[in-house]
């Protein structure tokens, strides 16, 4: 199980032929206590880079972008009901959506964990 990352602090993880998406632990820490999450509906399609979700913390409201193009297959209702999960387990239980990719080669453009760690430290 390899985690990949975007420059906008989303993580992507392969699960069968789907990709699970969430925001990174680093992003969650920077945001502070998350108080609200808005996720897209299942069935919606996005192009890589589109606004896909919104995360609101006590500090700021931030857009979450689609890390790859594709269709939303499943949405994590639990994280909407309990946004605190993002601060507790951003990389696990607080996943946002599962995407069926329309262009799987987009995955190649994402960063691996080491590259993201370096990117996050220097941004």
């Amino acid at each position: 199980m390899t985690d990949l990352y975007t420059k906008d602090h989303e993580w992507v993880r392969a699960e069968g032929d789907l990709y699970v998406v969430g925001i990174s632990a680093h992003a969650a820490e920077q945001l502070g206590d998350v108080v609200f999450v808005e996720l897209p509906e299942a069935g919606k399609t996005f192009t890589k880079g589109d606004d896909m979700a919104v995360v609101e913390s006590v500090k700021a409201a931030s857009d979450v972008y689609a890390p790859i193009s594709g269709e939303i297959v499943e949405v994590n209702a639990a994280v909407v009901a309990e946004p605190a999960k993002i601060n507790e387990d951003a990389m696990g239980a607080a996943w946002f959506v599962k995407i069926k990719p329309s262009n799987a080669s987009e995955i190649d453009a994402l960063m691996d964990e080491a590259a993201y760690k370096e990117f996050a430290e220097n941004s």
Binding site: D33, V35, F36, V58, K59, A60, S62
Partner: protein, 503 residues
């Protein structure tokens, strides 16, 4: 000053002049009232079964209890009349008492909005005179006076832009609006409200719009660009003419967010910068009270290209008489408000303008910029400015100076409360890490600024000396300590319920 750490608790919970105050529901009774009504005459009930079948449930208090309740609550509040209010982007300047005197003249204060126009000539003339000077100061040919806040003015300007684009037959084609990543949140919200999609323009290393990146995003599907100048980093957009030209060349309009007009009023006319529409916050630049002290007002100036689409009503002068034109023209996008705008703010804003004169307004802008640069210069030894160079009306710092101290921006702000200050704007603009945006305004004297800067310098030094624990505990001296903002946002309790009171 020494504080006795063993200050004993008091029986009442009060601390001298800091008086604890319960909710009106908790101190009031349901069996009494501060007003005695004569018994109702015996009349037939005409409510047709729609009469209330239970008690209304509002607590009754006597007149002195009511007065004390609200005065005590007001004393827990911070106000511009108490001290500096350095909220960046908000322009919390002094509200001159002359404004209040003029606004209370019975001819203005007691006028009914539906009074016959023949009885309201003075009020209509005042609206027209204020409109004239707003157009004069901005170099724009038209102004819509009815918007009631900054964001409402944005809506007015963007609706005029939408109407102009629709009139050109390009409504389906021009669907994108561009806004810098440092924009006020209301900019993208307004654009979306008008049916546009919003794209961010990245900033450059100096904190300004990246002109090359903007040009790349322009095209025949761009309706408008929304830019604040000076921007939310407190910096003048030096490329503003080039930005305007590029947008116009691409067939789009230039909306300028006028929230920071205070820094340039009397110095620069936005019309000369190529602006097509801009709102003016009377409650910032023209000193009318806001932030809990009164309603806003956001008159919106329009260039010739957008003037035909302005909303009704508006005032015209004809044969020596003033008329309020209530019927929108065929091209107008319609009507934003029931009446003609915030009359009480118009009287205050014109009073401010007249008492300052054009040279005075110019000096206001100069002093506001001077004060901000004084704060920047005094603090930059201990705190870290977000960008190099001079600022305009507000000084922006990031949290690099707090790195590895364990103190965060929010802790620093809370510690300012103990020093007797309202904190600066925090965590905005979003493009700056742990942002602290300080706008002193022209109202503060050098003595006041020095005390403020000394207090911040002392806090910065304490933070670096390893006082993280004390910062995390702040504020100590406020009526309430650190509130749980997270719980308030996640599980808001918005309504008092009797069951809770019984607990």
């Amino acid at each position: 000053m020494t504080v006795n750490p063993q200050a004993p608790p008091t029986f009442t919970g009060n601390k001298a002049l800091q008086i604890e105050e319960a909710l009106s529901f908790e101190i009031g009774g349901f069996d009494r009232t501060g007003v005695d009504f004569p018994p109702a005459e015996d009349r037939p009930n005409r409510l047709g079964g729609l009469g209330r079948d239970s008690d209304i449930g509002l607590p009754g208090l006597s007149e002195p209890e009511t007065m004390r309740h609200f005065v005590r609550l007001s004393q827990k509040n911070y106000a511009i009349d108490m001290g500096p209010f350095p909220l960046g982007s908000c322009t919390m300047k002094h509200n001159p008492r002359l404004n209040e005197k003029i606004a209370r003249l019975p001819g203005f204060a007691d006028l009914h909005p539906l009074a016959p126009q023949a009885c309201a000539q003075g009020a209509l003339e005042l609206i027209d005179t204020l409109a004239f000077w707003l157009k004069e100061l901005t170099g724009m040919p038209a102004v819509a006076m009815s918007p009631k806040a900054g964001a409402h003015g944005e809506l007015c300007g963007m609706m005029a832009i939408k109407a102009a684009i629709d009139a050109r037959g390009e409504g389906d084609k021009r669907t994108r609006v561009l806004a810098p990543e440092s924009a006020h949140g209301t900019n993208p919200a307004t654009a979306v409200q008008c049916g546009f999609t919003v794209e961010e323009i990245p900033g450059d290393a100096t904190g300004r719009v990246d002109l090359a990146a903007l040009k790349e995003k322009l095209g025949d599907d761009v309706a408008a660009i929304m830019v604040t100048n000076p921007n939310t980093c407190g910096l003048f957009e030096r490329d503003i003419r080039a930005i305007a030209d590029a947008v116009h060349e691409a067939g789009g309009y230039f909306y300028c967010d006028g929230a920071n007009f205070n820094a340039i009023a009397g110095k620069v006319k936005p019309g000369d910068l190529g602006v097509d529409a801009m709102h003016i916050n009377l409650h910032k630049t023209f000193s009318t009270p806001h932030g809990g002290g009164g309603p806003g007002a956001g008159p919106t100036v329009l260039a010739q290209a957008l003037a035909p689409y302005a909303p009704a009503p508006y005032v015209v002068r004809q044969d020596g008489e003033y008329h309020l034109v209530e019927t929108p023209s065929a091209e107008s996008f319609g009507r934003l408000t029931a009446f003609h705008g915030q009359m009480g703010m118009f009287t205050r804003a014109l009073s401010y303008m007249m008492s300052h004169g054009v040279d005075g307004i110019r000096q206001v802008a100069e002093d506001a910029v001077l004060n901000a640069n004084y704060v920047l210069a005094r603090l930059k030894g201990e705190m870290t400015p977000a960008f190099e160079g001079y600022c305009m009306h507000e000084a922006l710092f990031d949290d690099r100076f707090l790195k590895d101290t364990g103190v965060e921006t929010i802790d620093f702000a809370k510690a300012m409360i103990d020093e007797g200050y309202h904190p600066m704007t925090m965590y905005f603009p979003l493009v700056v890490h742990g942002a602290m945006l300080i706008e002193p305004t022209e109202s503060e004297s050098k003595r006041e600024l020095d005390l403020f800067c000394d207090a911040l310098l002392s806090l910065a030094k304490r933070a670096k000396a390893g006082a993280a624990e004390a910062f995390k505990a702040a504020p100590v001296y406020s009526p309430r300590r650190r509130l749980d903002e997270t719980a308030a946002a996640r599980k808001p309790v918005l309504r008092w319920t009797p069951a809770k009171a019984a607990e």
